[in-house]
Symmetry: C2
Subunit: 194 residues, 2 copies
Amino acid sequence: MHPLHQLIHSFSPINEKSWQQLFEHCEELTIAKGKNFIREGEKEKYIGFIMEGTMRQYYSRDNGEEITTYFYFENNLVSSYISCINNTPSQITIEALEKTKLLIFNYSVINELYNKEKVWERFGRKIAEYLAAGLEERMVSLLMDKPEDRYKKLLNSTNKQKILARIPQHYIANYLGITPISLSRIRNRLSKNK
Amino acid sequence: MHPLHQLIHSFSPINEKSWQQLFEHCEELTIAKGKNFIREGEKEKYIGFIMEGTMRQYYSRDNGEEITTYFYFENNLVSSYISCINNTPSQITIEALEKTKLLIFNYSVINELYNKEKVWERFGRKIAEYLAAGLEERMVSLLMDKPEDRYKKLLNSTNKQKILARIPQHYIANYLGITPISLSRIRNRLSKNK
DNA sequence: CGTTCAGTTGACTAAGGTCAATTCCCGTGG
DNA sequence: CCACGGGAATTGACCTTAGTCAACTGAACG
């Protein structure tokens, strides 16, 4: 089973025939380190599935400062999901942190599948629910935990290895909502206290 | 058209017959000021639709401190959505800030409708997408904006009237991620600077 | 080698948190 | 109708912690 088919299947059982309807519209795309998959302001809506590589998603402030909000690894779906569902220009940019191989398809394809078959509609629901649950957890952590606690949680997360090994520290910092300098101090503090 | 039917219809067109399948499982419930609709740890999953009243949703810390994460008004759906979709005990409590009239139904009802009809599955998708978009916006604001900015955004929001008029300030404060004392100072600062 | 950029460290600033006292508001009961 | 009680909001003094700015180190890469 194709890894993307497998991922989709884990949300909503999709048989081979239905899967082909998506797969026939997929293309491969390789993005070099430092290049973008999706750019802020863009209207073309693509969904990507990471075969190999690492990406980061960020918002830009007026002054050009970048605020990282997410990291993606192998077997993750990447896209400016909000801009797809609201049909608005993307507010985010998604950049490859290493050379990244993607399987991509246009959002309009998935949208048509939503119309065609109930199992695809269910897939859309499950994905959105999964996303909402993740966002809620993240939001609550930002409200309830101190930066230091959030860093500790990250150290205990299942993605720990991947994140710490493959993501530069200053991106992790603003993913946690703090400055790189501050994260450096937190790490210093933690290493001394035990 | 029943106000709940109307709300559902705005997400996914649902005809009278389909609507009745939900409506026949609805009950009315009135909750007195200060009483809870949903309690932390609870497993029974109900969805409510506010006919009249105001509610607030909060998480509890170990030390008993409450962190308010959302407010609900007339025509809003209220529930521990995450616990419904993950089928886990609720982490949140939803409390009536005034005497509140609800129309309620069990999540299992909606879940069966998801199985029965595609239009209901679509409704589920749209609701989840709507929720995800709202959560993302909120999360980004917590990452990018200073508390003062978040308060200013609240002052410009469409819900401004409702929130400021009907919600005690100390709940607004921790909705913004700050202490009531801090919010008081921010208000003071803003009133002096113009 | 030197250039570059990530990460650390130090000195200082700013802003929110904490604790405590005070005032304000509002509903209740005498 | 007024006095009282209690919670909400404000204010002041002080503390803690993250932000800012700048200097320095060190590793990566041409």
